[in-house]
């Protein structure tokens, strides 16, 4: 009985905070816009009994989803979001892996401090940190002043309001989510494994490639998911650091919801976004499961 309760806790959590809100969003995405509060029709009215519910269900349709396929803005926004999220995940991995590796090979008494330094930025508001990047990257910003002061460039580099600024923002913001799982995987690794690889004829580099990387695979995967998923729907970073040319689905969603007040289309955009995220994750996990089963 107590075990059943314990198991029920996460499911109740998911039910209340994921499944129910999702069903509400799904319902709105199947509705039509209306000048009303809330700004969509139909609304569920239990006072009319079964006939009311039947009537309500009949008014739901997939019109908004069809609309999304007709306007090329949407699929271009999805595609561009996936592209930006993929590239920034890769960049975060390239920056985060060496940091995690350095932390894991640091002397034991240093590790707690290094870990602290990685999560220290969370002490400051995320918005303030993104705003300060605007100060750094703008044409008259710190970076351009520095480079010009050193005589490396004549003309200021235009970074702010480009995709480059978005990449910098995402890599900076999500770096800890990449570092921590990789660090956790690397820290567990037995150093004797690398010595064994060298002993069997590997150079340091091949030993890293053949032993360290495969053994930190779980951490790499977890880190990539932790960065890719929020980056895909990212809104604040592209709207503050990106330019008018930066097309991301989070921005589209915001505009539909707040500027156009078109809740049904905004909900449809959100539902598709969720599917884009969930389907690859499910496929991936299935594959992992099968592999585990094969190994017994």
């Amino acid at each position: 009985m107590r075990r059943a309760l314990l198991i029920a806790v996460p499911y109740l959590w998911l039910l209340a905070l994921f499944l129910v809100p999702f069903l509400i969003v799904l319902k709105i995405s199947l509705s039509d816009t209306a000048l009303a509060i809330p700004p969509y029709l139909p609304t569920l009215d239990f006072s009319e009994g079964w006939a009311g519910i039947w009537g309500f269900l009949q008014q739901l349709d997939f019109e908004n989803f069809t609309f999304l396929t007709q306007d090329e803005l949407y699929w271009r926004a999805y595609l561009s979001s996936v592209q930006i999220a993929l590239i920034s995940t890769l960049l975060t991995l390239l920056v985060g892996y060496p940091i995690a590796y350095g932390m894991a090979s640091a002397p034991e008494h240093w590790r707690a401090t290094l870990m602290m330094l990685v999560i220290l930025p969370f002490w400051t508001s995320f918005l303030i940190r993104v705003y300060s990047w605007m100060g750094i990257l703008s044409n008259e910003g710190l970076l351009n002043q520095l480079l010009q002061g050193l005589g490396l460039i004549d003309q200021p580099l235009t970074i702010l309001n480009t995709n480059t600024a978005v990449y910098i923002g995402i890599v900076y913001t999500y770096l800890p989510f990449m570092i921590l799982p990789i660090y956790a995987a690397l820290e567990k690794m037995d150093d004797a494994l690398l010595e064994a690889a060298e002993d069997l004829g590997c150079s340091r580099l091949t030993a890293f490639w053949l032993v360290t990387v495969p053994l930190s695979r779980q951490g790499i995967i977890a880190g990539c998911f932790l960065v890719f998923i929020p980056a895909l729907g990212e809104f604040v970073i592209p709207s503050l650091l990106g330019g008018s040319g930066t097309l991301m689905i989070g921005k589209v969603l915001w505009e539909e919801f707040f500027n156009n007040r078109d809740w049904p289309v905004a909900s449809a955009v959100a539902v598709i976004l969720l599917l884009i995220l969930i389907i690859p994750i499910i496929l991936f996990q299935r594959n992992e499961q099968k592999q585990r089963e094969r190994e017994g």
Partner: protein
């Protein structure tokens, strides 16, 4: 037909495979290896034995190339190993933790080293199969390391380190993680494999029984120095110091002063006031009155209720304690001056027929050649 005894260390024409020449290794202020010189010969099964922190592991890691000597030279097959990285040495190591690659199957673990030297595919497969057969692992080839038992993992580690047919195999406490019964079986297996492959083995262990069982020669180490190198029998029967005698097996150490024996052979040893002198023969020379130590193995001390007729040394005492180990019993006997002495007998009779028990007055006796006379 008489078999020739394997003793290349006695043959002045034999070229050693490994030479340590005045090797010193320091870690900061700590001297792990102190000006050590030692030769190890081809096909030897050489054991480095000592308590933890004596430098035996450092010696092995210097052979593998994971540490470099602070001073001195290490030669393998006549070639100076200074600056040669681990992956370029004709040496493989079996790690204490086995260090099997958890993401690779048993087969791929064994093939790992062979793949690094770009071996041809069918040849590689044949070599792996040969190693699997040698270590009786054919049935587990497809398993991952976490899916097999500790004993099997140990054999995978051995197969992997032997796969490249190294000139020298280093074994770091190879049997430490196994339980006693399995360890004993594996010791014989190791010796068997060493003989079959003809590889030179250097084993590091703190288990003296293990060293005695497997090794052709044992080096007893303490604080970065080798105290004695000899065959297991010599180490046990003729230790060169109290440290070695005490480290290997059980021993009674009696301090005394040596004077030439009136009969002209050996020495009479004064060991306690008012007690009869002990008589011991030795090759060592002692000045009259020089301090010495008698190292006397308990199994060389006979114990009897009646005074023995003819014995070079005999003394009366009282049984204080009996340690019954099944096959043998060790008697702790208090001598008249309070000194405790251990005597051991094989339990050839059944328990009910043995006469000696606690508080019995008994006679201890031993011959004049039973004890080793040591300077310190």
């Amino acid at each position: 037909m008489a078999q020739t005894v394997f003793a290349p260390w006695d043959n002045p024409d034999e070229k050693p495979l490994i030479q340590f020449k005045n090797v010193t290794k320091r870690f900061g202020d700590f001297t792990a290896i102190d000006n050590l010189t030692q030769d190890i010969y081809t096909r030897e099964f050489f054991a480095l034995l000592g308590p933890s922190g004596c430098g035996k592991t450092t010696m092995m890691r210097m052979l593998a190339g994971f540490e470099n000597p602070s001073e001195g030279q290490i030669l393998i097959a006549g070639q100076d190993m200074a600056g040669v990285p681990p992956n370029k040495r004709p040496v493989n190591m079996m790690f204490q933790s086995y260090a099997l690659f958890p993401h690779l199957s048993v087969w791929d673990n064994i093939a790992f080293g062979l793949r690094r030297e770009a071996m041809e595919k069918t040849q590689l497969a044949a070599r792996v199969e040969q190693m699997l057969k040698l270590t009786r692992l054919e049935r587990f080839a497809r398993r991952k390391p976490h899916q097999i038992s500790g004993g099997q993992r140990q054999r995978v580690a051995l197969a992997r380190s032997l796969a490249k047919a190294p000139k020298l195999l280093l074994l770091d406490e190879p049997l430490g993680a196994l339980d006693k019964k399995l360890r004993q079986d594996t010791q014989f297996e190791l010796m068997d494999i060493q003989e079959k492959t003809g590889t030179t083995f250097v084993i590091v262990t703190h288990d003296q029984e293990e060293a005695m069982t497997v090794a052709s020669r044992v080096a007893v180490m303490d604080e970065g120095r080798i105290m004695q190198v000899a065959t297991p029998a010599v180490i046990y029967e003729q230790p060169n110091s109290v440290y070695v005698a005490d480290f290997i097996g059980d021993v009674n150490i009696i301090e005394g002063a040596a004077t030439p024996h009136p009969a002209g052979d050996g020495y009479a040893i004064d060991w306690a006031e008012g007690q009869p002198q002990f008589h011991a023969k030795t090759n060592r020379a002692f000045a009259p009155g020089q301090k010495c130590f008698l190292a006397l193995r308990p199994e060389k001390v006979a114990i009897s209720a009646e005074p023995p007729d003819e014995a070079a040394n005999r003394i009366q005492g009282k049984i204080i304690d009996i340690a019954y180990l099944g096959n043998i019993s060790t008697y702790h006997v208090r001598l008249p001056n309070g000194t405790m002495m251990k005597a051991q007998t094989a339990n050839t009779r059944r328990l009910s027929r043995r006469s000696l028990t606690w508080e019995d007055a008994v006679w201890l006796s031993w011959t004049d050649t039973a004890a080793a006379v040591l300077e310190g």
